[in-house]
């Protein structure tokens, strides 16, 4: 039997726990380095100290006061939240239609969506730039919100469609017999059950927008519309790179995603595995 019960120290030290530990450390050490460095005074940054010699919040205040990090944070929040909301609303409607309603060309639509979602963003960068310049949208929130929506929607539609398919048809039929309108059926019966799918799609979209760099750098050059990734990259000047401040800003930037994933982790896990097994 392979799964024999382990006894003694083998219970704690074995292939599984060791490889788990290695994997976790592999991921956590850079993160730790980021957080630790963000608290280090400037002198500590150039030597490989594991712990800061003294804790200092200077890097944090510098990021907000010296470098407009507050503005970037606000911009990122607006762009990301607006995009996520748009993606979820459109994705739900499209996912429901593709998963449930009788219509032609469902398969073709899904394939096209898949192609769009793997399309390299850099290939559309130049034409999009020209287009946005033409309609005067450079340096605006919508310059990011619309392209982000376009690029994140296909994945969200895929996830949500798979979710809708998993909801028994009889449930909607019961709704119809009970006298619920189509919209009411979606709102009261379908959506509550598609919540894990919504969270999964939402978190993926949120993370993608929050960390997007290329579009943000290209379309919004004005400081007032910069998002966090671009803002941090532009910290500093020609002769110095303020690593401490960059670390501090990066930590702050990671927090919302961390909170989000922590709150919704259960849903995300069930969302990613939906449809894998009948249940």
């Amino acid at each position: 039997m392979r799964n024999r019960k382990r006894v003694g120290w083998h219970k704690y030290v074995n292939g599984v726990t060791i490889s788990t530990l290695v994997t976790v450390l592999f991921i956590l050490i850079p993160l730790y380095w980021l957080v630790a460095s963000s608290f280090k005074p400037p002198n500590d940054l150039n030597n490989a100290r594991l712990f800061p010699s003294s804790f200092s919040g200077g890097n944090y205040s510098n990021a907000f006061v010296g470098y407009d990090f507050g503005i970037y944070f606000r911009n990122s929040l607006i762009v990301t939240l607006a995009t996520t909301a748009l993606v979820l609303v459109l994705g739900t409607l499209a996912g429901y239609a593709l998963g449930r309603l009788p219509m032609r060309g469902k398969f073709t639509t899904m394939v096209i969506l898949l192609i769009i979602s793997v399309f390299p963003a850099v290939a559309v960068l130049a034409p999009l730039y020209l287009l946005l310049r033409e309609i005067g949208w450079l340096n605006s929130y919508q310059a990011l919100i619309l392209p982000y929506t376009a690029f994140n929607l296909p994945f969200a539609i895929w996830i949500l469609r798979n979710y809708m398919i998993g909801i028994p048809k009889e449930m909607e039929e019961t709704g119809r017999i009970d006298g619920a309108s189509a919209l009411r059926t979606v709102w009261s019966i379908v959506l509550p059950q598609a919540l894990p799918g919504l969270f999964t799609a939402g978190i993926f979209c949120f993370t993608a927008c929050w960390t997007e760099f290329l579009f943000a750098l290209t379309f919004n050059s004005s400081n007032n519309f910069r998002t966090i990734p671009v803002g941090i990259a532009e910290f500093g000047g020609n002769f110095q790179v303020p690593y401490g401040t960059i670390f501090a800003a990066s930590v702050v930037a990671t927090v919302p995603i961390g909170i989000l994933v922590f709150i919704f982790r259960k849903f995300v896990v069930s969302g990613l595995t939906s449809g894998a097994v009948k249940g």
Binding site: P168, E170, M171, E173, T174, R176, I177, D178, G179
Partner: protein, 385 residues
């Protein structure tokens, strides 16, 4: 409170599949009508057409005398219980039951009173705050019933509501569903593939096969006087013994394999039409309970078979035997495994528990000849009158 009338209803799917063919049935107010047939016979399609979940290709559906073909499910004022219950998993039992009333914008106190009343009828009062996921199969089934009865619909539709329950619970719920239906007294159409459910629950039973109506009658009449070989084979468990046989000249006797069975005068006077089959092949049917063990010195018609299996049920013995006649299997009446298990001349008899018989014996059965059923070999129709 309403009647339901189906007139020459047809359903042809887009891919050309003709699921229901010219179905005409009338369901009286308060009647419990069971639609039964093997899987794929169109019974669920028929039910869904009554519900308004499926378009009617042609024919007229009347609910309470009013044509309902183009009405939405809501306008038809029906309630339906699905095979998988289709409870809303995110709502409590109370919310599930009350959802339809909430949609009708019923005031909260009235809504609560009605939900409570339904819960009382169904014994769900203690479970109103639970979610469906925390309930057992039988409780979920009752919530589904509750959701249907709370609306006080004019027609009740049920699509195999008991098939997800285990055998014991199914028997219990069978009685419960009947009790509830009697209590609310609403016309009910109940779909099942289980002929025992059909027999025990229905006021009348509609037998369908491949989308075609076979017979509508009370359970007892279906059992005693099936219109054709299919109904004869489908209704009853264990299934009726159907054999190819030949009537001799004057229809005075019957050749069943190598055995000859005398037909007394009484049989011929009961079925004068048999005379025209003299010298021809027919299909004969004998119910297992009409083949008791022959007593010593039996003078009436008998059948001799080789016993190959005995099932002791306590109250009786189910004796499986073979004879050298050809067993008739009506297509679709038995499911595939059953049909394969039925050997060439296989037959079943139900005899007294104390009958001394063992596997390998050659056993003589007395035939209750007046209960024997006769069918036309070509058309499969019953030979009567």
């Amino acid at each position: 409170m309403a009647t339901v009338s189906l007139q020459n209803i047809n359903k042809v799917y887009e891919n050309g599949f003709h699921a229901v063919k010219d179905l005409s049935v009338d369901i009286a107010d308060g009647e419990f009508m069971v639609l039964v047939g093997p899987s794929g016979c169109g019974k669920t399609t028929a039910l869904r057409m009554i519900a308004g979940l499926e378009d009617i290709t042609s024919g007229i559906l009347r609910i309470d005398g009013k044509e309902a073909n183009d009405e939405t499910p809501k306008e038809r004022d029906i309630a339906m219980v699905f095979q998988n219950y289709a409870l809303y998993p995110h709502m409590t039992v109370a919310e599930n039951i009350g959802f339809a009333l909430k949609l009708r914008k019923l005031p909260k106190d009235q809504l609560n009173a009605k939900v409570k009343e339904a819960a009382d009828i169904l014994g769900l009062t203690d479970w109103l705050d639970r979610k469906p996921g925390q309930l057992s199969g039988g409780q979920r089934q009752r919530v589904a019933m509750g959701r249907a009865i709370v609306r006080e619909p004019s027609v009740f539709l049920m699509d195999e509501p008991l098939s997800n329950l285990d055998a014991k619970l199914r028997v219990q719920m069978r009685a419960e569903v009947q009790r509830i239906q009697r209590r609310i007294g609403v016309a009910t159409v109940y779909v099942t593939h289980d002929q025992i459910e059909a027999m025990t629950m229905g006021d009348r039973v509609t037998v369908l096969r491949s989308g075609v109506l076979q017979q509508v009658d009370t359970p007892q009449n279906l059992y005693d006087n099936p219109d054709n070989v299919f109904v004869a084979a489908f209704i009853g468990s264990p299934a009726q013994n159907l054999y190819d046989a030949a009537l001799t000249e004057g229809a005075r006797s019957l050749k069943l394999g190598s055995q000859e069975i005398l037909l007394p005068e009484a049989v011929r006077t009961k079925r004068p039409a048999l005379a025209s089959y003299a010298g021809k092949d027919v299909v004969v049917g004998m119910r297992p309970e009409h083949l008791p063990a022959a007593k010593p010195g039996e003078t009436g018609p008998t059948l001799v078979g080789d016993v190959n299996l005995i099932e002791a049920l306590g109250s009786e013995l189910v004796v499986h035997f073979t004879i050298d006649a050809h067993r008739v299997i009506a297509e679709g009446a038995l499911d595939k495994d059953e049909a394969e298990a039925v050997g060439a001349g296989e037959g079943v008899a139900r005899v007294e528990a104390k009958t001394p018989v063992k596997v390998g014996d050659r056993m003589t059965f007395a035939i209750d000849i007046e209960d024997m059923q006769f069918f036309d070999t070509q058309t499969g129709l019953a030979i009567r009158g």
